[in-house]
Structure formats: structure tokens, C-alpha cells
Amino acid sequence: MRAIWFISQIALFGLVSSRMINVPNLDYFRYYVAGLSIMTLYSAAIFIGFDIYEEADHGVFEYLLSLPVTRRQLVLGRSIGGGLRAFIYVGPLIGVSLYVIGAISPINFLIALFSLFLFAFGVSGMSITIAVVLKSSDRFDILMGVLDALIVRLSTAMYPLAYVQEANPLYGWIAKFNPVTYVADLFRWGTGLEAIISLDNPLLPLLGIIAFFSIFTFVGIIIYERRIEGGGWQ
């Protein structure tokens, strides 16, 4: 279903909207396809938070908590597992977008791919952290909807940073420090797509992605440990 949605977005929305948008030196269709890949990866990685509630409902959580592993190993395993799963789901779709976008530079692309991995792990860690803090699937569902709207729309996933800044400096400032912006820009840079790169040096968004991954994996572990140890999720 995700694949149908993805291809419809490219074949319908992307194709139609790109005819309305005329940005100098930018093929908006290819720009949009790259951004859509990131949005899809984000949505897939966030899903692990819903798994946490489902596992709690079915008692699998109790089983996981009784295993002879530390809470750190458990959350690290979950966030890496969630990230990998998202990557596996979205991998073929990224393949489709690469086909649409066209030529790639191998080294740049490997760096971009690495950043996609870190981003997926980071989003999974964020999702798990929020899920155990909220302790309510309804609240989580609502917050994720809001977060998705804000984090994706206040990024360069769908439009270049210059336009976001032009619309509102605050939006621009948020988009500039948004992990979705970092990974979207890196992906476009990695695929050799002609685009307005928001930051001059690809090292900066890469560092941003590493920071995002680190915060939600390692800080997430501490929060998870505190919230979960001893049945605190109940």
C-alpha cells in the first residue's frame, strides 16, 4: 500500500505540481521525488512507537523486559531494528526515486545513504522515546500527526530553504535546524541532483544527522530506562 501511495504521489501529485512551480535552475519534479523519499522514510521509522503500545497491550513488552539484557541493549536494539525495518520497507521506493532522479555520484551517494540510515535510527529512537514518555497510544497518535505536519513541512523536504525563509524567517530558522532538512539536502546532494543546498558544506547537515541520531538513541536510552524500569510504562 505504501508503494502504491508513493508511486501515486510521484505520478500524480509530483507530476502535476511540478508543472505549476517554476524555480530557476531547479527541476521541481525530481526535487519533490527526493523529498518524498525522505518523508516516506520518516513515516516508516516513526511506526515503531505504535509497536511499543501494541506490545504493551499484548504483554510482549513484559516478555521483552524480563529478558536477560540491559534496558540499554533493549532500546538500542529496538531503535536500530525499527530504523532498519523502515529502511527495508522504504528501500525499494528509494530505488524508484533514484531511477526517477537519474545519475548519481557513488561516493556522495554512499555518504547520503549513511545519513539516511542514521536518520531512520534517530527517528525510531525519537518515536520510542515519545511513546514511553506519553504512555498513551491516543496521545501518541495525535502528537505524531502534529509532529509530522510540523517537522516535514518546516523542512526542505518539499521546497528549498530560501522559499521557507522568504515566507517567514522563523520558519526558515526552524527548517535550518531540522533533521528532515539535513537528510533531504544530503540525499539530493548524494544523488547529484541540482538543488539549492541549504548549507554550503555537506559536512554540516551530516553532523546534524549524527547529532539527531545520538540524541534520540543515547539520550533516548536514559529516558527509556527511567520510564520503563520496574513497570513505569503502566
Partner: protein, 320 residues
Amino acid sequence: MPPIIRMVNLTKKFGNLVAVDHLNLEIEEGEILGLLGPNGAGKTTAILVLATVMRPTEGTAFVGGYEIKKNPDKVRGVLGIVFQEPKMLWVSTPWDIVNWHAKVCGLSTEERKRRVKEVLEALDMWEPRRKNVHALSGGMRKRVELAKVLIQRPKIAIIDEPTAQIDVVGKHKIWNMLRELREEGSTIILATNELYEADMLSDRVAIMHKGQLLVCDTPKKLKDSILGGDIVDIQLEKDASPKVVEELKHFKEVVNVLQAKPSNLRVYLNQVEEVVPRIMNLFMKESVPIASIHMSEPSLDDVFAHYTGLTIEEAQKGGG
């Protein structure tokens, strides 16, 4: 040798509900402790607290020498748990579930392959090992749950309702496997509603009710603790004189003597195996030949009813 598990005023509250109420209990290494109690007695909560899945509200416990609040990781390293409701991972087969569990418990690839096959075969789960767990019956799913602890062979095994939904033949097989697990060095806590199962397997039985520990002792001592719980029916070849009956009543273990017919006596007493030879001597001395003698001990059902004030039927309906 210090006890392998020591609970000190272990308490777990959920709001105003006291699920486990100041539990004090010691379990020796290599022991099988039967944990009995009606539904809602607090057995599963106590188990989850010991397994560090839940934190106690008050008090503490030492498991394998580690304090549950200070060293939860180390506690989890020495114990394995079989849950009341089988815990299945999503869209998995029995083989996937058991193999994954063995991997997490740190078994090497070779050992894992061997043990997974061994245990699944022993539990008659080798044939359906590739079936989706959602297609399995309740009893088969319980076997998969049980396989986890049999593969893990933990120092301390906590087993909640080991034979729930399992047929009679399967039950005996599983009981033997649990005995073998103990012989291999595991200490076992067996939470069960099945009194016969507790009687068959346990070295000691602890009875819980409304979160509290009512009593803990060997099944024999618990049965003996019911005043007049043993019954001896004596059929005499001639009528018993009032003098004999009176002498019988003076035995300190005898609680009551009923004389349905002049030659039929029903004696309510304790420690039947020690008293019967003395009863026979008395009748021989008084030249009253015994035609037949039938002894019956109280069952653990009687002990349970005695301590909880509930019949098994009431307990099964959640009377706790």
C-alpha cells in the same frame, strides 16, 4: 547456604489496590516452590516484581544474591520466566520464537540449533515448528512459551501456570521436564491454580490470598496442619465397646471418633501413618479383630480451602 531468593516485606500497590502485601519468603537453591492462590491473589504480580518487570512499591527482594532494585540487570541474568499467557512476537513460527529467545540468552549458534531441536522435539513441537503461532492451539502456544525456559536453563526459573490448556499426557511429560530442569540445577517457582500439580512437583507450597502469604511449608506438613484432616475408616469383625472408643478418643492425634454402626468407626485425626499402628495395637489388645481399614489424607485442595476459606470452584470463579 543462603537462600537463592529472599523477599523482604515485598509490596506492590496499584493505586489503592495492594496486589502484593508485605511478602516475606525465602526459597532455597534447587527447590521447587509451588505458589498457590486464587485468581487475583497476587502471584503473577509477585513474579513480575521478582523478574524486575515491575518495581516494588515497598520492601525488596534478593534474587540470586542481587537486590532487585539496585541490580535489575544482574537479576534478569539469572532468571528465566514462563508467562501465564504465551508471549508471542509478531508473525512468527515456534522455531523463530524459541531460536530468537535462545539467541538473546546468549547461546552459541551450534548449541542453539541443538537445544532448539531437542526441546521442540521433547515438547512435540518439532513438526509444527514452521507453522504460524496464530494458527496454533492454546496448549501448543503454551508449549512454545515453556520451551523458552527449557532452552535457557536459568539458575532460577519462574513458571506461571506451566500446564494451562495442556492435555493430561502432555502435563505429565512437562512435569518430568520440570523435574529434570531442577535436577540440572535450576530453582523453580511454580505459580499454579492446579493443586494436584503443586502437590506432585513442589518441595514446599506457599499459599497467597489477597496479596498476602498465608502459609508456606511442605505439602505433607500443610496437610498435617489441618486438625483432624486425616480420616481412618475401620470395619471391625465385632462391635466396638464404649471403652475402646473412649481409649481411641484419648490419643492426642485423634480429633473425633464417629460410630456409624457398632462395628464401623470413622476416626478424624492427624499424622495418620504414625497413629494407625497404635490403633491396630489397641484393637488387638482388646481382642477386637479388624476386618478392614481404610486411610485417607487431606488433599492440597483441603489445605487450600482451609487457608483461603474458598472452595476450588469459588477460587476458579475469581473469588480471591
